[in-house]
Protein backbone atom coordinates (compact mmCIF):
# COMPACT_ATOMS: atom_id res chain seq x y z
CA UNK A 1 0.00 0.00 0.00
CA UNK A 2 1.39 3.41 -0.97
CA UNK A 3 1.74 5.82 1.88
CA UNK A 4 -0.39 8.98 1.69
CA UNK A 5 2.64 10.99 2.68
CA UNK A 6 6.24 9.90 3.03
CA UNK A 7 9.69 11.43 3.36
CA UNK A 8 12.82 9.83 1.92
CA UNK A 9 16.23 10.74 3.33
CA UNK A 10 14.91 14.23 3.97
CA UNK A 11 17.62 16.78 4.68
CA UNK A 12 16.97 20.34 5.83
CA UNK A 13 19.17 23.17 6.91
CA UNK A 14 18.91 26.73 8.18
CA UNK A 15 21.89 28.40 6.54
CA UNK A 16 24.97 26.56 7.79
CA UNK A 17 23.07 24.68 10.46
CA UNK A 18 21.89 21.25 9.40
CA UNK A 19 18.61 20.57 11.18
CA UNK A 20 17.53 17.21 9.68
CA UNK A 21 19.79 14.30 8.71
CA UNK A 22 17.92 11.93 6.41
CA UNK A 23 14.41 11.53 7.81
CA UNK A 24 12.25 8.63 6.56
CA UNK A 25 8.69 8.63 7.78
CA UNK A 26 5.44 7.28 6.38
CA UNK A 27 1.83 8.19 6.94
CA UNK A 28 -0.95 5.89 5.73
CA UNK A 29 -4.60 6.51 4.88
CA UNK A 30 -6.62 7.46 7.95
CA UNK A 31 -3.67 6.97 10.24
CA UNK A 32 -2.53 9.22 13.09
CA UNK A 33 1.18 9.38 13.65
CA UNK A 34 2.80 11.19 16.56
CA UNK A 35 6.14 12.91 16.32
CA UNK A 36 7.80 13.29 19.70
CA UNK A 37 11.15 14.58 20.82
CA UNK A 38 12.78 17.30 22.88
CA UNK A 39 12.97 20.96 21.89
CA UNK A 40 15.25 21.37 18.88
CA UNK A 41 14.92 17.74 17.77
CA UNK A 42 13.66 18.92 14.37
CA UNK A 43 9.95 18.08 14.61
CA UNK A 44 8.69 21.47 13.49
CA UNK A 45 11.44 21.66 10.87
CA UNK A 46 10.18 18.36 9.45
CA UNK A 47 6.62 19.69 9.15
CA UNK A 48 7.87 22.96 7.65
CA UNK A 49 9.94 21.03 5.11
CA UNK A 50 6.92 18.99 4.09
CA UNK A 51 4.87 22.19 3.69
CA UNK A 52 7.41 23.76 1.34
CA UNK A 53 8.50 26.38 3.84
CA UNK A 54 12.11 25.17 3.69
CA UNK A 55 13.95 24.24 0.50
CA UNK A 56 14.16 20.43 0.13
CA UNK A 57 14.86 18.05 -2.75
CA UNK A 58 11.94 17.06 -4.96
CA UNK A 59 12.25 13.32 -4.24
CA UNK A 60 12.53 13.83 -0.49
CA UNK A 61 8.77 14.29 0.02
CA UNK A 62 6.15 12.15 -1.68
CA UNK A 63 2.39 12.58 -1.66
CA UNK A 64 0.52 9.47 -2.84
CA UNK A 65 3.83 8.40 -4.34
CA UNK A 66 4.35 11.60 -6.36
CA UNK A 67 7.48 13.62 -5.61
CA UNK A 68 6.39 17.00 -4.21
CA UNK A 69 9.41 18.18 -2.16
CA UNK A 70 9.96 21.94 -2.35
CA UNK A 71 6.49 22.65 -3.81
CA UNK A 72 5.23 26.15 -2.86
CA UNK A 73 3.20 26.15 0.36
CA UNK A 74 -0.05 27.28 -1.23
CA UNK A 75 0.29 24.50 -3.84
CA UNK A 76 0.78 21.93 -1.05
CA UNK A 77 -2.50 23.12 0.47
CA UNK A 78 -4.10 22.69 -2.94
CA UNK A 79 -2.73 19.14 -3.04
CA UNK A 80 -4.55 18.40 0.20
CA UNK A 81 -1.98 18.98 2.95
CA UNK A 82 -2.87 21.50 5.67
CA UNK A 83 -1.00 22.54 8.77
CA UNK A 84 -1.95 23.88 12.19
CA UNK A 85 1.27 25.84 12.67
CA UNK A 86 3.27 26.23 15.84
CA UNK A 87 2.18 29.38 17.66
CA UNK A 88 -1.20 29.22 15.82
CA UNK A 89 -0.33 32.10 13.44
CA UNK A 90 -3.85 33.50 13.17
CA UNK A 91 -4.58 36.59 11.08
CA UNK A 92 -4.62 39.32 13.71
CA UNK A 93 -6.93 42.25 13.18
CA UNK A 94 -9.51 39.93 11.62
CA UNK A 95 -12.54 38.32 13.22
CA UNK A 96 -12.83 34.60 13.95
CA UNK A 97 -15.26 34.25 11.07
CA UNK A 98 -12.99 36.12 8.63
CA UNK A 99 -10.02 33.96 9.64
CA UNK A 100 -12.07 30.88 8.81
CA UNK A 101 -13.53 32.44 5.66
CA UNK A 102 -10.04 32.90 4.24
CA UNK A 103 -9.69 29.12 4.21
CA UNK A 104 -13.23 28.62 2.83
CA UNK A 105 -12.47 31.16 0.05
CA UNK A 106 -9.28 29.45 -0.98
CA UNK A 107 -10.79 25.95 -0.86
CA UNK A 108 -13.56 27.21 -3.14
CA UNK A 109 -11.03 28.87 -5.48
CA UNK A 110 -9.03 25.65 -5.73
CA UNK A 111 -12.12 23.51 -6.09
CA UNK A 112 -11.16 21.47 -3.02
CA UNK A 113 -13.83 18.97 -2.05
CA UNK A 114 -14.32 17.79 1.49
CA UNK A 115 -16.82 17.52 4.27
CA UNK A 116 -15.76 20.49 6.36
CA UNK A 117 -18.20 23.40 6.54
CA UNK A 118 -18.69 26.25 8.98
CA UNK A 119 -21.76 24.62 10.64
CA UNK A 120 -19.87 21.33 11.02
CA UNK A 121 -16.91 23.16 12.57
CA UNK A 122 -19.30 24.94 14.93
CA UNK A 123 -20.52 21.49 16.07
CA UNK A 124 -16.94 20.45 16.77
CA UNK A 125 -16.03 23.71 18.57
CA UNK A 126 -19.29 25.49 19.57
CA UNK A 127 -17.37 28.44 21.02
CA UNK A 128 -16.29 29.48 17.51
CA UNK A 129 -19.92 30.23 16.63
CA UNK A 130 -20.40 32.27 19.75
CA UNK A 131 -17.19 34.25 19.13
CA UNK A 132 -17.64 34.55 15.33
CA UNK A 133 -17.41 38.36 15.34
CA UNK A 134 -14.61 38.63 17.91
CA UNK A 135 -11.16 39.68 16.78
CA UNK A 136 -8.87 36.67 17.11
CA UNK A 137 -6.26 38.44 19.23
CA UNK A 138 -8.77 38.86 22.07
CA UNK A 139 -9.54 35.12 22.30
CA UNK A 140 -8.02 32.83 24.92
CA UNK A 141 -5.16 30.56 23.87
CA UNK A 142 -7.42 27.52 23.64
CA UNK A 143 -9.99 29.35 21.53
CA UNK A 144 -7.22 30.61 19.24
CA UNK A 145 -6.02 27.04 18.83
CA UNK A 146 -9.55 25.98 17.85
CA UNK A 147 -9.58 28.70 15.18
CA UNK A 148 -6.19 27.51 13.90
CA UNK A 149 -7.44 23.91 13.70
CA UNK A 150 -10.70 25.05 12.08
CA UNK A 151 -8.82 27.12 9.52
CA UNK A 152 -6.70 24.10 8.57
CA UNK A 153 -9.76 21.80 8.35
CA UNK A 154 -11.63 24.22 6.09
CA UNK A 155 -8.76 23.81 3.60
CA UNK A 156 -10.32 20.30 3.23
CA UNK A 157 -7.08 18.41 3.85
CA UNK A 158 -6.45 14.71 3.29
CA UNK A 159 -3.35 15.11 5.43
CA UNK A 160 -3.37 17.33 8.51
CA UNK A 161 -0.15 18.35 10.23
CA UNK A 162 -0.58 19.57 13.83
CA UNK A 163 2.40 21.37 15.35
CA UNK A 164 2.33 21.41 19.16
CA UNK A 165 -1.36 22.15 19.49
CA UNK A 166 -1.22 21.71 23.29
CA UNK A 167 1.57 24.22 23.83
CA UNK A 168 0.82 26.74 26.57
CA UNK A 169 -2.74 25.54 27.16
CA UNK A 170 -4.46 24.47 30.40
CA UNK A 171 -4.90 20.69 30.84
CA UNK A 172 -8.69 20.97 30.59
CA UNK A 173 -8.43 22.84 27.28
CA UNK A 174 -5.87 20.35 25.96
CA UNK A 175 -8.29 17.50 26.70
CA UNK A 176 -11.05 19.37 24.90
CA UNK A 177 -8.91 19.91 21.81
CA UNK A 178 -7.54 16.37 21.74
CA UNK A 179 -11.09 15.05 22.10
CA UNK A 180 -11.80 16.58 18.69
CA UNK A 181 -9.04 14.63 16.94
CA UNK A 182 -10.88 11.29 16.63
CA UNK A 183 -13.76 13.04 14.90
CA UNK A 184 -11.33 14.63 12.43
CA UNK A 185 -9.76 11.22 11.80
CA UNK A 186 -13.17 9.69 11.25
CA UNK A 187 -13.44 11.75 8.06
CA UNK A 188 -10.52 9.79 6.63
CA UNK A 189 -7.97 12.55 7.16
CA UNK A 190 -4.52 11.24 8.04
CA UNK A 191 -2.65 13.16 10.71
CA UNK A 192 0.83 13.87 11.92
CA UNK A 193 0.75 15.24 15.45
CA UNK A 194 3.85 16.90 16.88
CA UNK A 195 3.59 16.75 20.64
CA UNK A 196 5.92 17.33 23.60
CA UNK A 197 3.69 15.45 26.02
CA UNK A 198 4.56 11.80 25.44
CA UNK A 199 1.44 10.42 27.18
CA UNK A 200 -0.80 12.62 25.07
CA UNK A 201 1.10 11.71 21.90
CA UNK A 202 0.75 7.98 22.56
CA UNK A 203 -2.94 8.09 23.31
CA UNK A 204 -3.70 10.19 20.20
CA UNK A 205 -1.73 8.12 17.70
CA UNK A 206 -1.48 4.69 16.07
CA UNK A 207 2.26 4.90 15.58
CA UNK A 208 4.96 7.23 16.72
CA UNK A 209 8.35 8.47 15.68
CA UNK A 210 10.76 9.80 18.28
CA UNK A 211 13.29 12.35 17.04
CA UNK A 212 16.61 13.44 18.52
CA UNK A 213 18.97 16.01 17.05
CA UNK A 214 17.61 15.78 13.52
CA UNK A 215 17.32 11.97 13.33
CA UNK A 216 14.58 9.43 13.98
CA UNK A 217 15.73 7.40 16.98
CA UNK A 218 12.68 5.22 17.59
CA UNK A 219 9.59 4.16 15.72
CA UNK A 220 6.82 1.69 16.42
CA UNK A 221 3.21 1.21 17.43
CA UNK A 222 2.24 3.71 20.09
CA UNK A 223 0.50 1.11 22.24
CA UNK A 224 3.46 -1.30 22.18
CA UNK A 225 6.42 1.00 22.80
CA UNK A 226 7.54 1.00 26.44
CA UNK A 227 8.34 4.04 28.53
CA UNK A 228 11.97 2.88 28.83
CA UNK A 229 12.37 2.73 25.05
CA UNK A 230 10.92 6.22 24.68
CA UNK A 231 13.12 7.52 27.49
CA UNK A 232 16.24 6.24 25.76
CA UNK A 233 15.24 7.52 22.32
CA UNK A 234 14.10 10.87 23.68
CA UNK A 235 17.23 11.66 25.62
CA UNK A 236 19.75 9.85 23.44
CA UNK A 237 21.01 7.16 25.83
CA UNK A 238 21.29 4.55 23.06
CA UNK A 239 18.88 4.12 20.15
CA UNK A 240 15.95 1.76 20.31
CA UNK A 241 13.95 0.09 17.56
CA UNK A 242 10.80 -1.91 18.07
Amino acid sequence: MTAVLSTHGLLARYGDFQALYGIDIELHQGEAVALIGANGAGKSTLLRSIMGLLPVGREMVRLHGDPVGGTATDRMVQKGVAIVPEGRRLFTGMSVEDNLRVAIDQAARMGAKGGWTLPRLHQLFPILKEKARTQVQSLSGGQQQMVAIGRALLCQPRVLLCDEISLGLAPKVIREIYAALPEIRATGTAMIVVEQDVGLARSASDRLYCMLEGRVTLTGRSAEITREQIGKAYFGAGHGVV
Binding site: A72, V77, M94
Partner: protein, 287 residues
Protein backbone atom coordinates in the same frame (compact mmCIF):
# COMPACT_ATOMS: atom_id res chain seq x y z
CA UNK B 1 -17.74 83.30 6.17
CA UNK B 2 -14.24 83.54 4.80
CA UNK B 3 -13.18 80.73 7.11
CA UNK B 4 -16.21 78.65 6.25
CA UNK B 5 -15.25 79.06 2.61
CA UNK B 6 -11.71 77.93 3.45
CA UNK B 7 -13.16 74.85 5.15
CA UNK B 8 -15.28 73.99 2.11
CA UNK B 9 -12.37 74.53 -0.28
CA UNK B 10 -10.17 72.44 2.03
CA UNK B 11 -12.60 69.53 1.92
CA UNK B 12 -12.71 69.76 -1.87
CA UNK B 13 -8.90 69.81 -2.02
CA UNK B 14 -8.94 66.83 0.36
CA UNK B 15 -10.97 64.97 -2.27
CA UNK B 16 -8.04 65.27 -4.67
CA UNK B 17 -5.56 64.16 -2.01
CA UNK B 18 -7.79 61.21 -1.12
CA UNK B 19 -7.39 59.92 -4.68
CA UNK B 20 -3.60 59.86 -4.24
CA UNK B 21 -3.86 58.52 -0.73
CA UNK B 22 -6.12 55.51 -1.41
CA UNK B 23 -3.53 53.71 -3.50
CA UNK B 24 -0.97 54.52 -0.83
CA UNK B 25 -3.31 53.24 1.90
CA UNK B 26 -3.47 49.92 0.07
CA UNK B 27 0.25 49.59 -0.71
CA UNK B 28 1.84 51.20 2.34
CA UNK B 29 -0.96 50.89 4.89
CA UNK B 30 -1.98 47.31 4.14
CA UNK B 31 0.90 45.63 2.25
CA UNK B 32 3.67 47.66 3.94
CA UNK B 33 5.31 48.30 0.57
CA UNK B 34 6.92 51.73 0.40
CA UNK B 35 6.39 52.90 -3.17
CA UNK B 36 8.47 56.04 -3.72
CA UNK B 37 7.38 56.14 -7.37
CA UNK B 38 3.71 56.61 -6.33
CA UNK B 39 3.61 60.31 -7.30
CA UNK B 40 5.61 59.75 -10.48
CA UNK B 41 3.09 57.14 -11.60
CA UNK B 42 0.31 59.73 -11.22
CA UNK B 43 2.27 62.22 -13.34
CA UNK B 44 3.18 59.57 -15.93
CA UNK B 45 -0.49 58.60 -16.26
CA UNK B 46 -1.50 62.27 -16.46
CA UNK B 47 0.97 62.94 -19.27
CA UNK B 48 -0.14 59.83 -21.15
CA UNK B 49 -3.74 61.02 -20.75
CA UNK B 50 -2.90 64.53 -21.99
CA UNK B 51 -1.08 63.11 -25.02
CA UNK B 52 -4.00 60.81 -25.82
CA UNK B 53 -6.45 63.73 -25.53
CA UNK B 54 -4.47 65.90 -27.90
CA UNK B 55 -3.60 63.11 -30.36
CA UNK B 56 -7.10 61.72 -30.70
CA UNK B 57 -9.14 64.70 -29.55
CA UNK B 58 -10.61 62.80 -26.60
CA UNK B 59 -12.64 64.45 -23.83
CA UNK B 60 -11.93 63.82 -20.13
CA UNK B 61 -14.34 60.89 -19.78
CA UNK B 62 -12.94 58.79 -22.67
CA UNK B 63 -9.42 59.53 -21.36
CA UNK B 64 -10.47 58.24 -17.93
CA UNK B 65 -12.02 55.12 -19.48
CA UNK B 66 -8.78 54.30 -21.34
CA UNK B 67 -6.37 55.40 -18.60
CA UNK B 68 -7.77 53.41 -15.66
CA UNK B 69 -7.36 49.96 -17.30
CA UNK B 70 -3.91 51.05 -18.48
CA UNK B 71 -3.05 52.02 -14.88
CA UNK B 72 -4.31 48.65 -13.62
CA UNK B 73 -2.03 46.92 -16.10
CA UNK B 74 0.92 49.11 -15.08
CA UNK B 75 0.35 48.27 -11.41
CA UNK B 76 0.20 44.56 -12.16
CA UNK B 77 3.45 44.71 -14.17
CA UNK B 78 5.12 46.82 -11.46
CA UNK B 79 4.32 44.20 -8.81
CA UNK B 80 5.22 41.20 -10.99
CA UNK B 81 8.42 42.64 -12.44
CA UNK B 82 9.79 44.67 -9.53
CA UNK B 83 7.99 44.58 -6.21
CA UNK B 84 7.43 40.81 -5.86
CA UNK B 85 11.21 40.41 -5.92
CA UNK B 86 11.75 42.83 -3.04
CA UNK B 87 8.63 42.38 -0.91
CA UNK B 88 9.15 40.97 2.57
CA UNK B 89 9.21 41.88 6.23
CA UNK B 90 11.99 44.40 5.56
CA UNK B 91 10.59 47.58 3.92
CA UNK B 92 14.03 48.81 2.83
CA UNK B 93 14.44 46.80 -0.44
CA UNK B 94 11.09 48.01 -1.81
CA UNK B 95 12.00 51.57 -0.81
CA UNK B 96 15.33 51.44 -2.65
CA UNK B 97 13.89 49.72 -5.75
CA UNK B 98 11.03 52.23 -6.10
CA UNK B 99 13.35 55.16 -5.34
CA UNK B 100 15.41 54.10 -8.37
CA UNK B 101 12.22 53.63 -10.39
CA UNK B 102 11.07 57.12 -9.39
CA UNK B 103 14.25 58.76 -10.71
CA UNK B 104 14.14 56.66 -13.88
CA UNK B 105 10.47 57.58 -14.49
CA UNK B 106 11.12 61.31 -13.95
CA UNK B 107 13.95 61.28 -16.47
CA UNK B 108 11.96 59.21 -18.92
CA UNK B 109 9.08 61.71 -18.71
CA UNK B 110 11.49 64.61 -19.13
CA UNK B 111 12.84 62.96 -22.25
CA UNK B 112 9.42 62.32 -23.77
CA UNK B 113 7.37 65.35 -22.66
CA UNK B 114 10.07 67.96 -21.77
CA UNK B 115 9.87 70.01 -18.54
CA UNK B 116 6.85 72.04 -19.68
CA UNK B 117 3.69 72.10 -17.60
CA UNK B 118 0.64 70.73 -19.36
CA UNK B 119 -2.98 70.18 -18.52
CA UNK B 120 -5.92 68.21 -19.79
CA UNK B 121 -8.57 70.32 -21.56
CA UNK B 122 -11.85 69.88 -19.69
CA UNK B 123 -14.12 71.50 -22.30
CA UNK B 124 -15.48 74.02 -19.81
CA UNK B 125 -16.10 71.64 -16.92
CA UNK B 126 -13.14 73.09 -15.00
CA UNK B 127 -14.64 76.59 -14.85
CA UNK B 128 -18.25 75.76 -13.87
CA UNK B 129 -19.40 76.33 -10.33
CA UNK B 130 -22.44 76.09 -8.13
CA UNK B 131 -23.36 78.91 -5.73
CA UNK B 132 -24.61 77.77 -2.33
CA UNK B 133 -25.34 80.73 -0.04
CA UNK B 134 -22.28 82.93 -0.33
CA UNK B 135 -19.93 80.05 -1.12
CA UNK B 136 -18.97 79.11 -4.68
CA UNK B 137 -18.28 75.43 -5.16
CA UNK B 138 -16.45 74.39 -8.31
CA UNK B 139 -18.17 71.62 -10.22
CA UNK B 140 -14.92 69.82 -10.95
CA UNK B 141 -13.70 69.75 -7.30
CA UNK B 142 -17.16 68.49 -6.35
CA UNK B 143 -16.89 65.65 -8.90
CA UNK B 144 -13.37 64.89 -7.59
CA UNK B 145 -14.70 64.65 -4.03
CA UNK B 146 -17.63 62.49 -5.11
CA UNK B 147 -15.35 60.12 -7.03
CA UNK B 148 -12.92 59.98 -4.09
CA UNK B 149 -15.78 59.11 -1.74
CA UNK B 150 -17.01 56.42 -4.11
CA UNK B 151 -13.55 54.92 -4.50
CA UNK B 152 -13.00 54.91 -0.72
CA UNK B 153 -16.33 53.23 -0.14
CA UNK B 154 -15.65 50.66 -2.86
CA UNK B 155 -12.14 49.89 -1.66
CA UNK B 156 -13.24 49.58 1.97
CA UNK B 157 -16.01 47.19 0.99
CA UNK B 158 -13.66 45.20 -1.24
CA UNK B 159 -11.20 44.73 1.62
CA UNK B 160 -13.90 43.76 4.11
CA UNK B 161 -16.29 41.65 2.09
CA UNK B 162 -14.59 39.98 -0.85
CA UNK B 163 -12.44 36.89 -1.21
CA UNK B 164 -9.64 39.07 -2.57
CA UNK B 165 -9.94 41.53 0.33
CA UNK B 166 -9.79 38.81 2.96
CA UNK B 167 -6.83 37.16 1.23
CA UNK B 168 -4.99 40.48 1.09
CA UNK B 169 -5.65 41.25 4.76
CA UNK B 170 -4.55 37.73 5.68
CA UNK B 171 -1.34 38.00 3.64
CA UNK B 172 -0.62 41.38 5.23
CA UNK B 173 -1.11 39.99 8.73
CA UNK B 174 1.12 36.94 8.18
CA UNK B 175 2.41 36.02 4.73
CA UNK B 176 3.54 32.53 5.70
CA UNK B 177 0.28 31.67 7.47
CA UNK B 178 -1.60 32.98 4.43
CA UNK B 179 0.32 30.57 2.19
CA UNK B 180 -0.50 27.78 4.68
CA UNK B 181 -4.17 28.58 4.06
CA UNK B 182 -3.77 28.19 0.31
CA UNK B 183 -3.22 31.84 -0.62
CA UNK B 184 -0.63 32.64 -3.28
CA UNK B 185 0.66 35.90 -1.74
CA UNK B 186 2.38 37.08 -4.91
CA UNK B 187 -0.77 36.77 -6.97
CA UNK B 188 -2.76 38.61 -4.30
CA UNK B 189 -0.14 41.37 -4.08
CA UNK B 190 -0.10 41.76 -7.86
CA UNK B 191 -3.87 42.28 -7.82
CA UNK B 192 -3.61 44.76 -4.93
CA UNK B 193 -0.95 46.87 -6.63
CA UNK B 194 -2.99 46.74 -9.84
CA UNK B 195 -5.94 48.14 -7.86
CA UNK B 196 -3.77 50.78 -6.16
CA UNK B 197 -2.30 52.07 -9.43
CA UNK B 198 -5.71 51.77 -11.07
CA UNK B 199 -7.02 54.29 -8.51
CA UNK B 200 -4.08 56.53 -9.48
CA UNK B 201 -5.53 56.47 -13.00
CA UNK B 202 -8.50 58.45 -11.62
CA UNK B 203 -6.14 60.76 -9.71
CA UNK B 204 -4.09 61.35 -12.87
CA UNK B 205 -7.08 62.51 -14.92
CA UNK B 206 -8.43 64.82 -12.20
CA UNK B 207 -5.00 66.21 -11.36
CA UNK B 208 -4.43 67.12 -15.02
CA UNK B 209 -7.92 68.67 -15.25
CA UNK B 210 -7.62 70.71 -12.04
CA UNK B 211 -4.17 72.12 -12.59
CA UNK B 212 -1.03 71.56 -14.60
CA UNK B 213 1.39 68.64 -14.44
CA UNK B 214 5.11 68.50 -15.21
CA UNK B 215 7.55 65.57 -14.99
CA UNK B 216 9.08 66.82 -11.71
CA UNK B 217 5.75 67.09 -9.84
CA UNK B 218 5.61 63.50 -8.59
CA UNK B 219 7.48 63.80 -5.28
CA UNK B 220 5.06 66.44 -3.94
CA UNK B 221 2.08 64.14 -4.65
CA UNK B 222 3.98 61.35 -2.92
CA UNK B 223 4.42 63.45 0.23
CA UNK B 224 0.73 64.39 0.35
CA UNK B 225 -0.27 60.76 -0.02
CA UNK B 226 2.13 59.63 2.72
CA UNK B 227 0.95 62.39 5.04
CA UNK B 228 -2.72 61.58 4.48
CA UNK B 229 -2.19 57.86 5.19
CA UNK B 230 -0.16 58.53 8.33
CA UNK B 231 -2.58 61.18 9.66
CA UNK B 232 -5.47 58.76 9.14
CA UNK B 233 -3.70 55.66 10.44
CA UNK B 234 -2.07 52.71 8.72
CA UNK B 235 -4.31 50.04 7.29
CA UNK B 236 -7.61 51.95 7.37
CA UNK B 237 -9.09 53.12 4.09
CA UNK B 238 -11.54 55.59 5.61
CA UNK B 239 -8.66 56.81 7.80
CA UNK B 240 -6.73 57.75 4.67
CA UNK B 241 -9.83 59.56 3.39
CA UNK B 242 -10.19 61.56 6.61
CA UNK B 243 -6.41 62.15 6.67
CA UNK B 244 -6.72 63.65 3.20
CA UNK B 245 -9.49 65.95 4.44
CA UNK B 246 -7.38 67.05 7.41
CA UNK B 247 -4.48 67.79 5.06
CA UNK B 248 -6.69 69.64 2.57
CA UNK B 249 -8.39 71.75 5.26
CA UNK B 250 -5.04 72.58 6.91
CA UNK B 251 -3.63 73.75 3.60
CA UNK B 252 -6.72 75.78 2.68
CA UNK B 253 -6.82 77.53 6.07
CA UNK B 254 -3.04 78.06 5.97
CA UNK B 255 -3.44 79.55 2.52
CA UNK B 256 -6.00 82.06 3.86
CA UNK B 257 -3.60 83.11 6.62
CA UNK B 258 -0.83 83.69 4.10
CA UNK B 259 -0.60 82.43 0.52
CA UNK B 260 2.93 81.15 1.14
CA UNK B 261 1.90 79.28 4.31
CA UNK B 262 -0.62 76.87 2.77
CA UNK B 263 1.55 73.83 2.01
CA UNK B 264 3.63 74.37 5.15
CA UNK B 265 0.47 74.43 7.29
CA UNK B 266 -0.34 70.93 6.00
CA UNK B 267 3.14 69.67 6.91
CA UNK B 268 2.88 71.23 10.39
CA UNK B 269 -0.46 69.52 11.09
CA UNK B 270 1.07 66.26 9.86
CA UNK B 271 4.02 66.67 12.26
CA UNK B 272 1.67 67.50 15.15
CA UNK B 273 -0.30 64.29 14.49
CA UNK B 274 2.93 62.30 14.20
CA UNK B 275 4.19 63.72 17.52
CA UNK B 276 0.98 63.39 19.53
CA UNK B 277 -0.75 60.39 17.93
CA UNK B 278 1.82 58.43 15.90
CA UNK B 279 -0.64 55.61 15.16
CA UNK B 280 -2.84 58.13 13.32
CA UNK B 281 -6.38 59.32 14.02
CA UNK B 282 -8.00 55.96 13.27
CA UNK B 283 -5.03 53.65 13.84
CA UNK B 284 -4.73 51.26 16.72
CA UNK B 285 -1.84 51.89 19.10
CA UNK B 286 0.87 49.26 18.82
CA UNK B 287 1.04 47.11 21.92
Amino acid sequence: MEWFDALVQGILLGGMYAQYALGMALMFGVMRIVNISHGDLVILLSLIGISMASAWGLGPLPVLIVLVPLAVLMGWVLQKAVLNRVVGSDPLPSLIATFGLSIALQNLMLQIWSANSRSLPGHGIESQSIEIGAVYIGLLPLIVLAVATGLTWGLDLTLKRTRFGRALRAASADVEAAAMTGINPRAVYAMATAAAVGILGFAAVFQALRSTVAPADGPAQLIYAFEAVIIGGMGTVWGAFVGSMVLGISQAIGFRIDPGFGVLAGHIVFLIVLATRPQGLFGKALA
